[in-house]
């Protein structure tokens, strides 16, 4: 056992911890494993709240070539620092995590676009994609580069803080789309990111927010937007929106997004982060003659998550209501099934390691 003193009682860090382990593609377990050792430029975080994302399904299926098995997943989490080498990140600090850490040296990193780091996956350069190329937060402890940490405002709980990355992703998509106050914004996709973006669009002063989705999730989200439209009836929104933001990840959603923008409007596509979704069936003159801006939006560069947390602290966005289920880490399998089968309209499943 290692111990470390801080103000208050001695902190005991066990030498082993429980963690969710993707042992091989499509093989998952909760295992005992050594607690990570502190490394330079990192802090050891006792994870207090950690969630499962649809991307974790892709990782487990072996669709991310940069992931090495066995792998500890988890990239939506918050906790408190228990070991640190610098006073800037003191033991006891409550932190949320954003997942992209760049090498800091390449051209993209120097532009603040570390989400596009040219040294992706090369851990020796300092790059980390937490929970993807490096171990993540579905564990009792996680070793996190300090560049990924955000101090949680006092008003933000650990469970809310687990949304640090999601809020950054949602906010970045709206900033990509240059949302101006009073505009009509359509959000496609009633999953976690879509619902964060829906609320943030209001927080940023959109005049009218329309949410397009389907099923149980859409019903749950009814009061988050000015109107909700089932995607089967999306055609009636054709040509109406100043800005359309897509977080559904299907070709159909992308087609709808392009069709919904008014002439001169903007379309932000954020859902299809994995390879293999092809867009067809779009009349290109819709984009050319409509003078549309069609923009891809990936993750959350430029520290945008810190501004997401500022809005969370101001209650401009409610993430607690998007947490539909809670489980202890040890029954991960049950949590996983609840999420992947969208049981009871599951949006986010919270694990308490």
């Amino acid at each position: 056992m290692r111990t470390m003193l801080r103000r208050g009682p001695a902190l005991v860090i066990p030498t082993t911890m429980r963690a969710v382990v993707f042992r091989a593609p499509n093989e998952v377990a909760v295992d005992n494993m050594p607690t990570p050792q502190l490394e330079a430029g990192h802090a050891l975080v006792r994870v207090r709240a950690s969630m499962v994302c649809a991307t974790d399904q892709k990782i487990l299926a072996g669709k991310f070539p940069m992931t090495r098995f066995p792998h500890v997943p988890g990239h939506e989490f918050a906790g408190e620092i228990v070991l640190s080498e610098t006073g800037d990140w003191p033991v006891g600090a409550r932190v949320g995590v954003e997942v992209h850490v760049g090498c800091g040296t390449c051209d993209r990193c120097r532009e603040g676009m570390y989400t596009l780091c040219l040294n992706y996956g090369k851990r020796e350069t300092g790059h980390a994609h937490i929970g993807f190329t490096t171990p993540g937060g579905l564990a009792e402890y996680a070793l996190v580069p300090v560049a990924a940490l955000h101090v949680l405002p006092d008003a933000v709980s650990f469970e809310e803080g687990a949304w640090t990355d999601n809020l950054g992703v949602a906010l970045w998509s709206l900033e990509r789309g240059r949302l101006a106050g009073g505009e009509h914004v359509v959000l496609i996709g009633s999953g976690a990111i879509g619902l964060c973006a829906t609320q943030l669009a209001r927080a940023l002063g959109a005049g009218r927010v329309t949410l397009v989705g389907r099923g149980e999730r859409l019903k749950r989200a009814k009061d988050l937007a000015d109107e909700v439209v089932d995607s089967a009836e999306a055609a009636r929104l054709t040509g109406t929106a100043d800005l359309v933001v897509e977080f559904a990840g299907t070709a159909e959603a992308a087609r709808q997004a392009i069709a919904m923008a008014r002439r001169g409007g903007r379309v932000v596509l954020g859902g299809s982060t994995g390879a293999g979704v092809e867009l067809s069936g779009v009349d290109l003159s819709t984009i050319v003659r409509g003078n549309l801006d069609v923009l891809g939006s990936l993750a959350n560069p430029k520290g945008v998550s810190s501004r997401g947390l500022a809005l969370l602290a101001q209650k401009k966005v409610d993430v607690a209501r998007l947490i539909t289920h809670r489980f202890p880490l040890v029954v991960f399998e049950e949590a996983w099934r609840t999420f992947t089968e969208r049981r009871e309209g599951a949006i986010r499943v919270m694990l308490q390691p």
């Binding site: 106050g181 009073g182 002063g205 005049g207 101001q314």
Partner: protein
């Protein structure tokens, strides 16, 4: 009709004048229901901008107004401004053809002042809205929802747009508080209003942090409250040589400063800071293309414009209304005049 007529600097009367007309194809004749007194009105009445605003006397001022369409030209009708339409007015109406107008910047029309080419600025050099009736082009009137009261609609022109994390409004008048409200509506995490007197109480009541410039160094206070960094964005609506300088000193490295107040004398500013800290400065002349964005935000209450209205007067009591506004009687903020 009854109208407020300026006859010389400091001189005005509420008089009977000829109803304006005829209505051109792209114009509407409106029954004015409410006008808000603007700081610029007070200056125009004072004669500060004599020769420009107005060019000559007699003159009817007034540009923050709302009302109902009574008569519409052929083109106006085709654009849907039929009699009975409820509208809010704004002051600038560009020629529509010059380079500035064609890039959407009609508030900077290159044919400013040339009425024969179609340019207008109502209540500044073109006859304005302190009257029972006013004629404006449909480029300068905007439909308002049925549920929006006329006195609130009269404030649409004033609500401008800005966005930031930590936002400082320098000036606690109607304009200053509206920029603060808009900043909050557009997602600013913190909003600080710098001003003085009773108007600052209203800022506090609206939920903003306040800094009274009578209580020492406002710049130091703002910097201290932002962890020594300064604010992300400042908007100066006071337009004095001190407020212009202070607004710049209040922002962080890489910060942005917008100026909506119209300064009457040159100001000395710290250009070294602008260079070394890459500060962006924006001049803002009235508004352009923002009325349609602001109207839904006022309609659904996210811009609580009604809270800025402190007094109502009838047009014949304009002298009393102006005194209330100029002397900030009872913390007067927006004073509404009803013809």
């Amino acid at each position: 009709m009854q109208a407020l007529v300026l006859t010389a600097p400091h001189q005005f009367e509420v008089a009977d004048v000829t109803k304006p007309g005829p209505v051109r194809e792209n114009e509407v004749l409106c029954r004015v229901k409410a006008i808000a007194i603007c700081g610029t009105d007070a200056e125009i009445i004072e004669g500060t901008f004599q020769g420009r605003w107005p060019k000559a006397y007699p003159f009817i001022p007034g540009h923050e107004w709302s009302g109902e369409v009574l008569e519409a030209g052929k083109v106006a009708c085709e654009f849907g401004f039929a009699p009975g339409t409820r509208v809010a007015g704004t002051s600038h109406s560009g020629c529509g053809y010059c380079r500035m107008c064609r890039t959407g910047r009609y508030n900077l029309c290159l044919n400013y002042g040339r009425e024969e080419l179609g340019h207008r600025q109502y209540g500044h050099y073109t006859q304005g809205a302190y009257a029972e009736y006013v004629i404006q082009t449909i480029k300068s009137v905007f439909r308002i929802p049925d549920g929006m009261p006329y006195d609130v609609a009269a404030l649409c022109d004033t609500a401008s747009i800005a966005l930031g994390d930590v936002f400082v409004a320098v000036g606690s008048g109607g304009m200053g508080l509206l920029t603060a409200i808009c900043a909050k509506t557009l997602g600013a995490a913190r909003v600080i209003v710098v001003g003085g007197g009773k108007r600052l109480d209203r800022a506090q009541a609206l939920g903003f942090e306040t800094v009274d410039y009578h209580d020492g160094d406002a710049v130091a206070t703002v910097r201290e409250r932002t962890g020594g960094l300064g604010a992300d964005v400042a908007v100066d609506s006071a337009g004095t040589k001190d407020s212009v300088r202070q607004s710049i000193q209040m922002v962080r490295k890489g910060g942005r400063v917008a100026f909506t107040g119209i300064p009457k004398e040159p100001a000395t500013i710290d250009f070294q800071k602008i260079v070394l800290e890459e500060i962006d400065l924006y001049g803002v002349r009235a508004n352009r293309n923002t009325m349609e964005e602001v109207i839904p935000l006022i309609a659904d209450g996210r811009i609580p414009a009604a809270k800025l209205i402190t007094h109502h007067f009838k047009l014949p009591q304009f002298g009393e209304a102006l005194r209330t506004f100029n002397e900030r009687v009872d913390g007067a903020l927006k004073v509404i005049v009803e013809p």
